[in-house]
C-alpha cells in the first residue's frame, strides 16, 4: 500500500501544472473562478490551446492520434485543471462521440469526423433525452424511416446542452418500432444545418440558456451517417456510459469549490468574528471536507484498478452519487457563506452590464447552487445509479 503518486506520476503532475501556469489565459481562469460563462469562443480557444499541446485527445488511443493516458494520468490532469480554474473540456465530441466512432464507426467516418473534432471544425451536441424518455431512455420515440439512401427523421430531443453552438448532433433514433424497446434504436449523425431542424433554448432556473429543445421535422439524413449497424444503437450508447468515467466523482471541482468557500468564510464575518471560526459553519465545512477526503481516495482506488486494466462497474455509479452529494453540499455552504448578498440576481453583473453588487465572490453562488441541482439529475439520475448499484450488487 502506497498512497503517494509514483515518481513518473509526480513528474507528470508537474508537467501539467507548468503547462497550466504558462498556457491557461488568466482572463479565462478568472472567469471560471467567478462562475461566469466563457461562451463558444472561450471554449474553442481553450480546446485549441490543449490541442496544440497534443492533450485535447488525452483519452483517445494512439492509433487515432490520441495521447492515450491511463486512468491515473487522466485523473491528475483533470484534478490540476480544476485546481487552476481551467474551463471544463466540452465532452460531447471528444469523449462521448469519439470513442463510439473509434470502436464502431467506419473508416470513412473516423477519417472524416475525428480530425474535425480535434481542430474545432465541428461542435457536437448529444441527442439522447426526449420529453417522454428521461430516466427511461430506451422508450425514446424520435423516428427515423429509411427512404432510398436517406433516413427521414421526425421527433424531438430535449436537454441538449449547448446545442445552440452545435454544428452536428449525434442522435439515438428509433428505426424499428416493432422490436423490443432497446433493439430498435440506431445511432445517427445529423448535420444541424439540415432543413427541418429547429433549436429552441430552454432557460434554466438560474436564468442561463444552457440547454435546448431540438425539433426534427422530416429531416433527411444520408444513410452513410448511420454509425455501425442499424438497430444496434443502444449497444453503442451503453458502451459510452461504461467507457470513460474517471471524472465522474468531480473531486477536482469539489476541492476547488471547498477552497473557494474557505476563502469567502475568512473574509465574511458573523458576530464580529471571521465566519470560518463560527462553530456551526466550521462544523459543516469540516464534515464535507472529511467526506471529500475519503471520496477522493475511493476515486483513486478505482482509478488505479482501471489503470491496471479492470473495467469500471458499479463503482462509477457510486462515485456519481457520492460525488454529486458532496458538490451540492459545497454549493449550499457557498450560498450560506455570503449571507444577504446571495439575494441579488447576478446575471446582469455576470454579463458585465452593471457594477457588481456586494463582494465579487457573492455574485454567482446562489445561481450555482440552483444550477448544480442538475448534477444529481443528469447523466443518469442518482435514483437510476442507486438502482444500478442494487441490481448488480444484490445479485437479484
Amino acid at each position: 500500500m502506497d498512497l503517494s503518486y509514483t515518481k513518473e506520476e509526480q513528474a507528470f503532475r508537474e508537467e501539467v501544472r507548468t503547462f497550466l501556469e504558462e498556457k491557461l489565459p488568466k482572463s479565462m481562469s478568472d472567469k471560471v473562478r467567478r462562475g461566469e460563462h466563457i461562451g463558444k469562443e472561450g471554449h474553442e480557444l481553450w480546446h485549441s490551446i490543449l490541442n496544440e499541446q497534443g492533450w485535447l485527445s488525452f483519452n483517445w488511443p494512439k492509433e487515432f492520434g490520441g495521447a492515450e493516458w491511463n486512468a491515473v494520468q487522466r485523473h491528475i490532469f483533470e484534478d490540476q485543471c480544476a485546481a487552476a480554474y481551467a474551463p471544463r473540456i466540452v465532452p460531447f465530441g471528444l469523449s462521448m462521440l469519439a470513442p463510439v466512432l473509434q470502436k464502431f464507426g467506419s473508416k470513412e467516418q473516423q477519417d472524416h469526423y475525428l480530425p474535425r473534432i480535434l481542430d474545432g471544425t465541428d461542435w457536437w451536441c448529444q441527442g439522447y433525452s426526449e420529453p417522454g424518455a428521461g430516466s427511461d431512455l430506451a422508450s425514446l420515440k424520435t423516428r427515423a424511416v429509411r427512404e432510398g439512401d436517406h433516413y427521414v427523421v421526425n421527433g424531438q430531443k430535449t436537454w441538449t446542452t449547448l446545442g445552440q453552438y452545435a454544428d452536428w448532433i449525434f442522435c439515438l433514433v428509433r428505426t424499428d418500432p416493432d422490436a423490443k424497446q432497446q433493439e430498435g434504436i440506431s445511432f445517427l449523425l445529423i448535420d444541424m444545418n439540415t432543413p427541418g431542424i429547429e433549436v429552441r433554448p430552454i432557460v434554466l432556473l438560474d436564468g442561463t440558456p444552457e440547454v435546448n429543445e431540438v425539433f426534427f421535422d422530416n429531416v433527411r439524413v444520408p444513410v452513410e451517417n448511420l454509425v455501425g449497424e442499424e438497430n444496434k444503437g443502444w449497444t453503442y450508447a451503453k458502451y459510452l456510459l461504461t467507457h470513460e468515467r474517471t471524472g465522474i466523482a468531480g473531486v477536482g471541482f469539489s476541492r476547488a469549490g471547498l477552497d473557494a468557500v474557505k476563502r469567502v468564510a475568512r473574509q465574511e464575518s458573523a458576530n464580529g468574528r471571521p465566519l470560518i471560526e463560527n462553530p456551526h459553519f466550521a462544523a459543516r465545512l469540516a464534515q464535507v471536507e472529511i467526506d471529500l477526503m475519503a471520496m477522493s481516495t475511493t476515486n483513486l482506488r478505482i482509478i488505479s484498478q482501471a489503470a491496471a486494466g479492470a473495467a469500471p462497474g458499479v463503482e462509477s455509479s457510486m462515485l456519481k452519487v457520492k460525488g454529486t452529494i458532496i458538490r451540492q453540499e459545497i454549493n449550499d455552504l457557498a450560498r450560506r457563506a455570503v449571507g444577504p448578498y446571495a439575494m441579488p440576481f447576478a446575471s446582469e453583473a455576470v454579463e458585465g452590464d452593471n457594477d457588481p453588487v456586494g463582494p465579487e465572490y457573492a455574485g454567482p453562488v446562489a445561481a450555482q447552487y440552483f444550477n448544480n441541482r442538475k448534477l444529481s439529475i443528469f447523466g443518469g439520475s442518482n435514483e437510476i445509479q442507486r438502482g444500478i448499484i442494487a441490481k448488480v450488487k444484490m445479485g437479484g
Binding site: 433525452s129 417522454g132 424518455a133 428521461g134 430516466s135 427511461d136 422508450s139 430535449t158 436537454w159 430552454i202 432557460v203 434554466l204 432556473l205 438560474d206 436564468g207 465574511e268 464575518s269 458573523a270 458576530n271 464580529g272 463560527n278 456551526h280 459553519f281 459543516r284 451540492q328 449550499d332 450560498r335 450560506r336 449571507g339 444577504p340 448578498y341 446571495a342 439575494m343 441579488p344 440576481f345 446582469e348 453583473a349 452593471n354 457594477d355 453588487v357 456586494g358 446562489a366 445561481a367 447552487y369 440552483f370 441541482r373 442538475k374 444529481s376 439529475i377 443528469f378 439520475s381 442518482n382 435514483e383 442507486r386 438502482g387
Partner: protein, 375 residues
C-alpha cells in the same frame, strides 16, 4: 385547545387563495418577475382592496388584524402562490415601524400603506452586518435643525418603489451596541441618497443605497433618539413569522406539484410515484411539512409572549432545514423539468431557499436558540 382559524381569518384565507389561484398564475407571475418594476401595481392595488394589507395592522393602527395568526394566514397564501409583491417590506417592516413609533403626522402614512397608495423600504442591513441586527455603522448627526445621515445600506428590498426609506443610523454607541440606534423617515428622492438597483434571485428588486450628506429635518426621526433597536427587533420578529409562514405555504405548493408530477409522469411503463424509492421520500416531505406547519403555529402563537424570540428562532431554524429538504427533493423527484425557469416549481423552490438569506439562516437561528435557551 382550538387549532382552527377564526371565521374572519378563514374567510381571509379563502378569499386570498381564490384570488391568487385565479389571478396570480405562473404565466402572470413570470411576466411580473421579468418586468422592469419587478412587481405589479395592478395586483398590489387589488390585494389592498381585498384587505390583505389591512389584515397586517391592528384596529388602532387603522387595520383589522395585526396579530401573529393574521400575519401567518396572509403570508402562507402569498407563499403558496409565490407572490413577489413586497408585503413584507412595505407593510410588516416599513408600515410596522411607522405604526409603532410614528407621531400623529407620520401615522397618516400607515393609512396610505393600507390603502395601497404608498410603498416603503427598511434600509437597515449594511455591507458588513450579515444578519446581526445591532450592527449599524451608518451615522446620524444633528446639525442645527437638521440631521445629517452618512452611510451605506445593503440589499434594501423594494427601495426603488418606496416613497420613503426607513433608515437606521447611529447617534451613539459602538458598531454592535444595542443602544444608540435611531430610525429616520427619509424621502426616497432626498438629495445625497443614491440607489443601485437590481433584480433578486427569487423575484422582486432591491438596491444598494448610499447616503452621502443626506439632510432631513429632526421631525423625520421615528420615535426617540437612540432607542430604535427594540422597535426594530419587534418588526423583525413579525417579519420572521411572515417569512416562516410564507416558506411553509411555498413548501405546500412544492409538495403538491411533486405529488401531481409523481402520479402523472410515466417512465418504465408506470407512474414514477409508484416506485417505492420515490414514494417513501415523498412521504418524508409530508411528515416534515407537518413539522413546518406546527413551527409556524408556535411562532405566530407566541408573537406577544415572553418566549417570543426563542420560539421564532426555533421556527426559522426548522423551516430553514425542512425548506431546503422540500425544495431540493421536489426538484430531484421531478427531474429536468423542475430545472426550467417557466415551470412553477422553479420559482417556488427559489422562494423557499432564498428565505434563508433574510434575517438569518439555519445556523444563525440555531445559535440564537441556543443562546436564548441558556439565558
Amino acid at each position: 385547545m382550538d387549532f382552527n382559524l377564526t371565521e374572519e381569518r378563514q374567510m381571509l384565507q379563502d378569499t386570498l387563495r381564490r384570488y391568487l389561484s385565479e389571478r396570480y398564475t405562473t404565466t402572470k407571475r413570470n411576466a411580473i418577475i421579468d418586468s422592469d418594476a419587478g412587481h405589479s401595481d395592478e395586483i398590489w392595488g387589488e390585494l389592498a382592496e381585498l384587505g390583505v394589507i389591512g389584515a397586517l395592522f391592528t384596529e388602532e393602527q387603522g387595520g383589522f388584524g395585526g396579530a401573529g395568526f393574521d400575519i401567518s394566514t396572509v403570508f402562507e397564501e402569498l407563499g403558496r402562490a409565490g407572490v413577489v409583491e413586497p408585503f413584507l417590506d412595505t407593510a410588516i417592516l416599513g408600515g410596522g415601524l411607522i405604526a409603532a413609533l410614528g407621531d400623529d403626522a407620520q401615522h397618516g402614512l400607515v393609512e396610505e400603506v393600507i390603502g395601497g397608495g404608498l410603498h416603503l423600504a427598511l434600509a437597515h442591513g449594511e455591507p458588513a452586518s450579515r444578519y446581526d441586527l445591532s450592527r449599524v455603522e451608518t451615522t446620524a448627526k444633528v446639525d442645527g435643525g437638521e440631521i445629517v445621515i452618512e452611510g451605506r445600506k445593503a440589499v434594501v428590498i423594494n427601495a426603488e418603489a418606496a416613497g420613503f426609506l426607513i433608515v437606521s443610523a447611529r447617534e451613539g454607541g459602538g458598531p454592535f451596541s444595542l443602544d444608540g440606534i435611531s430610525l429616520f423617515l427619509v424621502p426616497a428622492d432626498a438629495d445625497g441618497l443614491t440607489m443601485q438597483g437590481y433584480p433578486m434571485m427569487s423575484g422582486g428588486r432591491a438596491a444598494e443605497v448610499t447616503l452621502d450628506n443626506v439632510r432631513v429635518p429632526t421631525s423625520a426621526r421615528l420615535g426617540a433618539e437612540g432607542v430604535g433597536f427594540e422597535a426594530l427587533a419587534d418588526v423583525v420578529a413579525r417579519a420572521n413569522v411572515a417569512l416562516a409562514a410564507e416558506a411553509m405555504g411555498a413548501m405546500e405548493s412544492a409538495t403538491e406539484l411533486t405529488r401531481e408530477y409523481l402520479m402523472t409522469r410515466k417512465q418504465f411503463g408506470r407512474p414514477i410515484g409508484t416506485f417505492q424509492a420515490l414514494a417513501h421520500r415523498f412521504s418524508d416531505l409530508l411528515i416534515e411539512l407537518e413539522q413546518a406547519r406546527s413551527a409556524v403555529t408556535n411562532a405566530a402563537g407566541h408573537l406577544d409572549s415572553d418566549d417570543r424570540d426563542r420560539q421564532i428562532a426555533a421556527a426559522r431554524n426548522l423551516i430553514a432545514r425542512t425548506g431546503r429538504l422540500v425544495a431540493e427533493e421536489a426538484i430531484q423527484m421531478h427531474g429536468g423539468i423542475a430545472m426550467t425557469q417557466e415551470y412553477e416549481l422553479a420559482h417556488i423552490a427559489k422562494r423557499i431557499v432564498m428565505t434563508d438569506h433574510r434575517f438569518g439562516d439555519a445556523d444563525y437561528h440555531l445559535e440564537r436558540f441556543i443562546g436564548l435557551s441558556a439565558a
